[in-house]
């Protein structure tokens, strides 16, 4: 049941295309989704990321009406659709691998959402042509669905979804089943679908590399709820909770103690973290410091006698650049941290002793 689009931009802001209020859905043996709240504006693309098994697919299916929810509300353009069946939600859910109807041609597949709404004739053919053009498959109408290549099937499924013109498009891992050459193809088709008429998109992905290209904002789904929903750069630079930082996989952790002067002492020395990021941690309380390899600064041993000495015990080569593995000794306790090699002032090799410090601006502080 599509409702007329809001006439002005202000109204679009007032009424999000999709709003989830305290959605709760159990699945499997775990706790499931316990409290998911999210707003997606018209024309906005929001990526859902989170560890495996957290319920990303369940969330999409619940929004589509294909999975039961235990509590909470789904609103599409301000209308509560929680109790409505899938076909009346103005929401289209796209499976991870495309599901085309094998007894229909490509054109008939794309016309399907229009035909079940009683539309016939030239208007349907016109819409099918437009949808095929949007995914760069002009002239494919008469092809049988089973004769398509993998990437073409993804694009036909997308074309069929945008032919339905839903207020909300739900994409479940749209790129993960594709090889790199096809990812660009289908990614472009998603962008084109967005440009076609500007639906709100909710995109589940497990690949953080896709997030920047696919989405305007990213929602981190952790422990049954949305822990953070921000632009991708903010998520990567300022994970709101330790769970989010751990999921991102690029943060290392050290235990720190808040000193009386507000600075935090840890195995990498004393860090001057701004009050804003230190939060309400009280004096002498223990905190967890989260930091990326780029935040560990190295200098030659001996230049600062009071600084923390570290021994280089290995080198790790990663896609984003190689790191040195450092062994720190802090009052008898040993810990290993990684420091990015790029951008360091000092050259060193395995076995060398260096001085390591933590660069405060990008260090996150989490309560323990």
């Amino acid at each position: 049941m599509p409702t007329p689009r809001a006439p002005s931009a202000e109204r679009d802001d007032d009424i999000p295309a999709l709003e989830l209020r305290a959605l709760c859905a159990a699945f499997g043996n775990g706790a499931g989704l316990t409290d998911v709240s999210l707003r997606v504006g018209s024309g906005e693309r929001v990526a859902i990321v989170g560890p495996s098994g957290v319920g990303k697919t369940t969330l999409l299916r619940a929004v589509a009406g294909l999975a039961a929810i235990d509590d909470g509300h789904v609103l599409v353009r301000g209308q509560d659709v929680t109790a409505l069946p899938p076909e009346r939600r103005d929401v289209v859910y796209l499976h991870q691998t495309p599901v085309l109807f094998p007894h229909l041609s490509v054109g008939e597949n794309i016309a399907f959402p229009l035909r079940v709404r009683g539309q016939r004739g030239e208007a349907v053919r016109q819409r099918v042509r437009e949808a095929l053009a949007a995914v760069r498959l002009d002239g494919f109408e008469a092809r049988p669905a089973h004769a398509l290549s993998g990437g073409q099937r993804h694009r036909v499924a997308l074309a069929r979804a945008i032919a339905a013109r839903p207020a909300v498009l739900l994409l479940d891992e749209p790129l993960s089943a594709l090889d790199p050459a096809l990812r660009a193809d289908v990614g472009a088709a998603i962008t084109a679908a967005q440009a076609e008429y500007g639906p709100a998109m909710l995109i589940v992905t497990h690949d953080l590399d896709d997030v920047g290209a696919l989405a305007d904002r990213v929602a981190a789904l952790v422990d049954g709820g949305v822990a953070q929903c921000v632009t991708p750069d903010v998520l990567f630079a300022r994970p709101a909770t330790l769970a989010v930082a751990r999921f991102l996989g690029i943060y290392q952790e050290l235990v720190g103690r808040v000193r009386e002067d507000g600075m935090i002492a840890c195995a990498l020395g004393v860090v001057d973290v701004s009050r804003e990021r230190r939060g309400v941690a009280s004096t002498a309380s223990l905190v967890t410091l989260g930091f990326r390899p780029e935040s560990v600064r190295l200098s030659a041993a001996g230049c600062r006698p009071d600084a923390v000495r570290a021994r280089v015990v290995g080198i790790r080569h990663r896609p984003r650049g190689s790191t040195l593995v450092l062994r720190l000794e802090d009052g008898g306790a040993e810990s290993l941290v990684e420091a990015a090699i790029a951008g360091q002032d000092v050259a060193c090799d395995v076995g060398d002793e260096v001085v390591a410090t933590l660069d405060p601006p990008d260090v996150m502080v989490y309560p323990r």
């Binding site: 299916r61 589509a64 009406g65 294909l66 069946p85 899938p86 076909e87 929401v91 289209v92 859910y93 499976h95 599901v99 085309l100 109807f101 094998p102 007894h103 399907f112 959402p113 035909r115 079940v116 709404r117 049988p144 669905a145 089973h146 398509l148 099937r153 069929r160 979804a161 339905a164």
Partner: protein, 274 residues
């Protein structure tokens, strides 16, 4: 022995091949010989011992088809079997889907319940059903016999559709629903067209289950419903061998057509999405 391993790779006629050939010949002979004999018998005019083949041929038995009891019995059996195939399919399709959606022990119990009327001897089934059908006034009627035939037919076809829907990709239905199709439209535009092959097979199977029924028809029909197997049995007992041969041949024709339909449908079965 150089090259022995090469020679071994080339298939040669061996004892195994001869055994297989003999077995295949025996299979073909045992399938066709009774039919050939029936055909000869049904057309024989004069056939006395010790002649190997009839000395005179006659079409009298076939011409008498309309006048004798075989004609009406053919119509009764055909109508019963067609109804059992169609109604059985209509009932078994949703039942099979419901069974396929059960999980764990419920599915085993459901499948066992569907299998019971298939496994039970028709005589036992008929004896039990007769009591029920008599009490509702359907004993000795065509409707009562049809209901009785439907019991094994629906059981068998439910299992058939359980298999079909186990292989069927559930995402197809979800995809259709989210694209705006109502449950009825999903059936009309997606499930039924995709299941055309299995549905043809099921109707043919239901037809055959009813067509060959003897005990159920006899017990529930009480001799008042004269289906073809009953007539053929009566002719055999009365010693009317030529008429019995005609009836027996008539019994064979629909299964042959049914088998052809099954082969045709099997080649078109597609339950997976493109």
């Amino acid at each position: 022995m150089t090259g022995s391993h090469l020679a071994a790779a080339v298939p040669r006629p061996g004892p195994g091949r001869i055994v297989r050939g003999v077995l295949l010949l025996a299979l073909v002979a045992s399938s066709l010989a009774p039919l050939v004999l029936l055909a000869i018998w049904s057309m024989s005019g004069r056939w006395l011992y010790p002649a190997l083949l009839p000395t005179e041929y006659s079409a009298a038995s076939w011409r008498a088809l309309g006048a004798e009891s075989l004609g009406p019995a053919l119509v009764t059996s055909g109508a019963l079997a067609a109804a059992a195939g169609l109604v059985g399919c209509v009932l078994a399709l949703p039942l099979g889907r419901a069974l396929a959606r059960l999980r764990g022990w419920r599915r085993h119990v459901g499948a066992a319940a569907a299998f019971l009327p298939v496994a039970a001897p028709p005589l036992a089934l008929g004896t039990g059903l007769q009591v029920v059908l008599l009490s509702v006034g359907l004993g000795g009627t065509v409707a009562g016999v049809l209901l009785a035939h439907l019991v094994p037919a629906v059981g068998y076809l439910s299992l058939f559709f359980l298999g079909t829907f186990t292989l069927f990709d559930e995402r197809v239905e979800a995809e259709a629903r989210t694209l705006g199709a109502t449950p009825w439209q999903v059936w009309r535009h997606v499930l039924l067209p995709m299941l055309r092959g299995p549905i043809v097979e099921a109707v043919a199977l239901g037809f055959l289950i009813s067509w060959g029924q003897f005990a159920l028809t006899l017990v529930v029909g009480g001799g008042a419903v004269r289906a073809l197997p009953l007539e053929v049995f009566a002719l055999v007992r009365a010693g009317q061998d030529r008429a019995a041969a005609v009836g027996a041949l008539l019994l064979v024709v629909p299964p042959a057509i049914g088998l052809a339909a099954l082969r045709w449908a099997a080649q078109r079965t597609a339950v997976a999405p493109a």
